[in-house]
């Protein structure tokens, strides 16, 4: 784990400056069943391949952003600030 991650504001920085919050999950829109809630809280796809993830440039600008990472090679593509945050 020493790859470079491109922060949308600071550019490519060593991955140790970032905190990874794991793969993007879909929070249920309405009250979920127990199965749906369990699925959302505890289960992850854990793919070997492209994965959309939350990252924060914690030791830098502190921005939260989304990145697509290939979990096999750590090649990062498509880094973006979430639409919701940009609006705010």
């Amino acid at each position: 784990m020493s790859f470079l991650l491109p922060c949308p504001y600071c550019g490519p920085r060593p991955v140790d400056e970032f905190a990874c919050f794991g793969e993007v999950t879909n929070r249920p829109n309405g009250p979920p069943t127990l199965a749906e809630l369990t699925e959302y809280v505890y289960f992850r796809d854990n793919v070997a391949g492209l994965q959309r993830e939350w990252w924060q440039h914690r030791a830098g600008c502190a921005e939260w952003f989304l990145a697509t990472r290939d979990t096999r090679t750590n090649a990062v593509s498509d880094v973006s600030v979430p639409d919701a945050a940009r609006a705010g």
């Binding site: 979920p32 979430p82 705010g88």
Partner: protein, 865 residues
């Protein structure tokens, strides 16, 4: 033994340098290495081997093989063949009992043969099991390399430096230097790393030279740590040029580890660099032109060379070295014996591709040349020079006859003392993949990390199993490529200590200081923390709570954000009012707690636990990124200090320092006011932090000591963390992380009043709803001990002789007159006050009684007064 001046020698003969070797003075010239000076002084045995304690002498003379590892100035495993000479150095033999020339442990070589095959102790010494500690003790004494002095880790300081390079060239040979100079013509940022000392201080136009420096590996993102002794440079390189060259490979034949058996490069270095005559009579077995030149060098140095064989045209059928007391005495070539004291052998040169393989290059076998070469390279990595295979090639290095056992041992791996027999045995036992065999025999796992044994092992393997070298393949190349001190990898301790702005006042007051997460905090100021508890109950106390997390949440949708983050309501909180809040995750687990004060319609001031500040800030920011609300989150923990002034006299004392109206009507319980105290603008929160009338003052950190001093002058007794814990426990306040864990939820922690389930949504709402439907498993509840015994935190709750829960907090309370605490109990035992259970302390059990609500001042009159 020293020759006359050589054209390219590195010596400065105008002065002498003296050091000691096992107590005897040894002299050399500046420019020598410790190894070359020892060799020039007639020393031939440099070490004893790992397992058999066979005498070993210089083999590669280039810092790769384990043969010259000595202890220098207390540092074990220094390869003296590349360690620059220095005056007064204390050089000692290691891994010997007795002396290098008479090592009593070498008995393992004579009689150990049948008892020390590969995997011997895994198979033999496991029974009887109870004897393993004894076996281990004996083996640890016999095996291993060198000894660390006690406290050695504290003697040297190691640092890490993060650096960038446009082009990082690894290897300072001809190709490496050319690549560096070429890159330098295109711009700055070129760094050349070479493991030898000879490039130290070298001037290369536009190139920064780091020598001696060892590139330890290539990690993803082109990260290359470079070991420069006591500094580790972590290079990020845009481009990496690997010019690590190729290494002479040993030839396999019985007696191939005898002192006096040397690789051609070693001989070349001794003569050309250090002007040392390596021996009197030499036999040269050459694999290429380069090796044959060594015969000329030897003759020029006055060494007799009775035979020089070109193995390409004259492939010998059998080679066998004969030794006397571990030193080569003659060699038998196809039945003809030649006397010699130096046997120069090479199976040819193999590219040192390891760094390239780590970077992701494929490695393929070239059958015509008998070597492994790097194939397609990753984008930003290049190779130049002989590491690409240029000018390399080997002859079949396998000359051993393992069938009869009449001969001396034939070593595949001199680091780990692995013989050809061991490898054959491993194959016979079914370890038929190179990776498995490596782990079983430990071949390539020693100090040289396969530099001199990987290729011979692969070839031996290919021959034993009957498949080709290409099928056997190589083992995975892993860092570190060069040996590195653990201290360098650990670096200096860089965990910052956090101190509050008032910290030094606590030290001056004689407080006992303790760690609290990253913070240093006072445990208590006096001998007995109970004195400080009493002061708070009876008159006035003050505690430094600057460590609390402090977060400002501001914006038109600040209220909406908090409303969705917290289980309870904050939108209806009136400006100037405070409410307690607990954060939960969507899994319903308790994350943190603290107070939330609304300062304006669009501005909230949130406090968190001392250790939760960063996590809560990140948590707020993340949800805000998800929801995209118009709210700004600012962590002001470091900018603001805070003290909590508590006790019956708090109002009068504070009134003497402020003009603000502190009356019960103007400044009610759970009010937040911006007031000036002793000239300092403060945010004053009237909360029941420790259960007494209290004001928590938050103010700019630089005023910390000033305000503290004023409050102490007004009669406030400083109290520490321990009295605070007693005071808060008396109120049955929970400590998140102490009384709760990652399984605790609001309902089980006794806070079912807190979540407002009629809200549309909040983080954790659905989980809380499901918890409410589910059968309760355990509940956090207060208890008092029947006798005056203090259970340790974590003590077991015992009901009807079975473990049924645990104690999470317990303290002696003078005010309550009993030992009080919090514990997790089965719900049916937790509801009724006075229900008896037992707590296991040591081997005994003591009675305890369930207590509901606060232990002290249950109505909360004191803090509301």
């Amino acid at each position: 033994m020293r020759l006359g001046p050589q054209p390219s020698e590195l010596l400065d003969r105008s002065s002498r340098v003296i050091f000691t070797f096992d107590g005897l003075a040894v002299g050399g010239f500046p420019g020598d290495t410790i190894g070359s000076a020892l060799y020039a002084s007639g020393h031939r045995v440099f070490s004893r081997s790992f397992k058999y304690h066979r005498p070993r002498g210089l083999l590669c003379c280039s810092g790769h093989c384990p043969n010259c590892m000595l202890t220098v100035d207390g540092v074990p495993n220094v390869r003296v063949c590349v360690e620059p000479i220095r005056a007064g150095a204390v050089v000692e033999a290691q891994n010997v009992l007795g002396s290098l020339n008479r090592d009593l442990l070498s008995v393992t070589d004579k009689i150990g043969g049948p008892f020390t095959p590969v995997g011997f102790y895994y198979r033999t010494m496991i029974r009887p099991r109870r004897l393993w500690p004894l076996y281990e003790k004996v083996l640890r004494n016999l095996a291993g390399l060198g000894r660390l002095r006690e406290g050695a880790g504290c003697e040297r300081r190691y640092d890490v430096e993060h650096r960038r390079a446009r082009v990082l060239v690894i290897g300072g040979g001809r190709s490496g230097r050319a690549a560096a100079l070429g890159a330098a013509t295109l711009g700055p940022g070129v760094v050349l790393v070479d493991e030898g000392a000879r490039l130290a201080g070298a001037e290369l136009a536009g190139v920064e030279v780091l020598a001696p420096g060892r590139a330890l590996g290539i990690w993803e993102g082109n990260l290359v740590p470079v070991d420069c002794g006591t500094t580790l440079y972590r290079f990020r390189a845009e481009r990496i040029v690997v010019a690590t060259g190729a290494l002479d490979q040993p030839l396999l034949f019985p007696g191939n580890d005898l002192v006096g058996v040397m690789l051609p490069d070693a001989v070349r270095r001794l003569i050309r660099d250090y002007a040392v005559r390596p021996g009197d009579r030499a036999v040269v077995l050459a694999a290429d032109e380069r090796d044959l030149e060594v015969a000329d060098d030897l003759r020029a140095a006055g060494v007799a060379v009775p035979r020089a064989v070109d193995l390409r045209s004259d492939p010998l059928g059998r080679i066998e070295a004969h030794g006397r007391r571990g030193r080569v005495h003659g060699v038998v070539l196809d039945g003809r014996r030649v006397e010699c004291d130096l046997l120069v052998v090479s199976a040819g040169r193999q590219p040192s591709y390891s760094l390239l393989a780590q970077a992701g290059a494929e490695v393929r076998y070239e059958p015509t040349r008998g070597i492994f070469v790097p194939g397609v390279l990753p984008d930003s990595v290049e190779a130049t020079g002989s590491v690409t295979g240029e000018g390399c090639g080997t002859v079949n290095p396998y000359r051993a006859d393992t069938g009869t056992g009449r001969h001396d041992k034939c070593f595949v791996c001199v680091c780990e003392d692995v013989t050809t027999k061991d490898v054959a045995r491993a194959v016979g036992e079914g370890f038929d993949s190179i990776e498995l065999s490596k782990r079983y025999t430990t071949v390539t796992m020693g100090p040289c990390q396969g530099k001199l044994c990987q290729l011979p092992a692969i070839r031996l393997y290919a021959r034993t199993t009957g498949v080709g070298e290409a099928t056997v393949g190589t083992t995975t190349a892993r860092p570190p490529w060069a040996p590195v001190e653990l201290g360098l990898l650990a670096g200096r301790h860089h965990e910052p200590t956090r101190r509050t702005s008032i910290h030094f006042r606590h030290e001056e007051a004689g407080a006992e200081i303790m760690w609290a997460g990253p913070w240093k905090r006072p445990y208590a100021y006096g001998e007995d923390p109970a004195d400080e508890v009493r002061a708070v109950h009876e008159s006035l106390g003050v505690i430094d709570v600057s460590t609390l997390g402090k977060i400002l949440v501001e914006g038109p949708e600040a209220a909406a954000l908090l409303e969705r983050l917290y289980p309870n309501r904050f939108a209806d909180l009136k400006p100037g009012r405070i409410r307690y809040g607990v954060l939960t995750t969507d899994g319903g687990r308790i994350m943190d707690d603290g107070t939330v004060a609304r300062l304006r319609d669009d501005l909230y001031y949130v406090t968190t636990t001392s250790t939760g500040a960063d996590a809560v800030t990140a948590w707020f920011e993340w949800w805000n990124a998800v929801w995209g609300l118009e709210a700004e989150i600012v962590n002001v923990t470091g900018a603001l200090s805070a003290v909590n002034l508590a006790g019956p006299l708090a109002r009068e004392a504070l009134a003497r320092l402020t003009e603000a109206d502190l009356s019960g009507e103007a400044f009610r319980y759970l009010d937040a006011r911006e007031i000036e105290v002793a000239g300092i603008p403060c945010l004053a929160l009237r909360i029941g932090f420790v259960g007494e009338l209290g004001y928590e003052l938050h103010f700019p950190s630089p005023a910390g000591e000033h305000l503290w001093d004023r409050l102490v002058e007004e009669g406030a007794t400083p109290f520490g963390l321990e009295p605070q814990r007693v005071l808060r426990l008396e109120k049955a306040h929970i400590i998140v992380g102490q009384d709760t864990d990652s399984e605790s939820n609001l309902l089980s922690a006794g806070m079912s009043w807190l979540p407002k389930l009629d809200k549309d949504d909040f983080v954790g709402k659905w989980a809380v709803e499901h918890f409410a439907e589910r059968e309760e498993r355990e509940r956090l509840v207060g208890f008092t001990m029947v006798e005056n015994v203090l259970p340790p935190e974590g003590a077991q709750v015992v009901i009807e002789g079975r473990p049924a829960g645990r104690v999470t907090s317990a303290r002696r309370s003078e005010a309550v007159g009993a030992v009080i605490g919090l514990a997790w109990l089965p719900p049916e035992r937790a509801t009724e006050a006075g229900t008896r259970f037992e707590v296991g302390i040591g081997r005994r059990r003591y009675g305890a009684l369930v207590w509901n609500g606060p232990f002290f001042d249950p109505g909360g009159e004191r803090m509301r007064s």
